[in-house]
């Protein structure tokens, strides 16, 4: 169903949170994915190309925290990461 999708949407994203001194933790969060309308058109004057490039990215997000396992005593186990609430081109 995503093969023909146009636009930009919140989509589930899984990654392994890692930092030195702790073990990794698999985290599933909300990120952004899509296909934005972009174009390049020749024009007469310099720079001779009129460009409209937009990318799918976070428009609203909140920062979440996870607690990584197996951290050394002097290493904070907290790992902060963004979760998308809304995405846009």
């Amino acid at each position: 169903p995503l093969r023909g999708f146009r636009g930009c949407a919140v989509r589930e994203f899984t990654f392994v949170a890692q930092k030195p001194g702790c073990k990794g933790l698999r985290i599933t969060t909300e990120a952004c994915w899509g296909r934005c309308h972009t174009w390049e058109r020749p024009i007469l004057e310099a720079p001779f190309i009129h460009r409209h490039h937009r990318v799918c990215t976070y428009s609203h997000m909140r920062i979440l925290s996870a607690r990584l396992p197996g951290c050394l005593p002097d290493v904070s186990p907290l790992y902060h990461y963004p979760a998308a609430l809304q995405c846009h081109c």
Binding site: F5, R6, R35, E40, H53
Partner: protein, 107 residues
């Protein structure tokens, strides 16, 4: 552009060019732009990116945008009033398109 399938495609458009000081000579031509829908995504940065950016870049973007991958110059004939003379001007047109690196828009 609503009928466009995902991807980056040649898209014809008409231009009318006027020249000389009083803009009395003019000509029209069909040129091609590249228009489409290319994939992009944004997701939490890896820890190495966080450290390298002093924890300012907490989002990483992986993006493709519709670009002109091949262009060509075309000559457009500008006809002047009463057929006295004509001018010629060279302009660019797209010949091929590709979803490729996004660049900062100048406008």
């Amino acid at each position: 552009y609503d009928g466009l399938a995902p991807g980056c495609h040649l898209f014809p458009f008409n231009v009318t060019i006027r020249s000389d000081r009083r803009s009395t000579c003019k000509g029209s031509h069909v040129l091609h732009a590249c228009v489409g829908y290319c994939e992009s995504s944004a997701f939490p940065s890896r820890y190495s990116v966080l450290v390298a950016s002093n924890f300012t870049h907490n989002i990483t973007s992986a993006s493709r945008c519709c670009t002109i991958s091949k262009d060509a110059k075309v000559k457009v004939r500008l006809d002047c009033p009463r057929g006295r003379h004509h001018d010629e001007i060279e302009i660019l047109t797209a010949r091929a398109c590709r979803c490729d690196m996004c660049r900062k828009s100048r406008y």
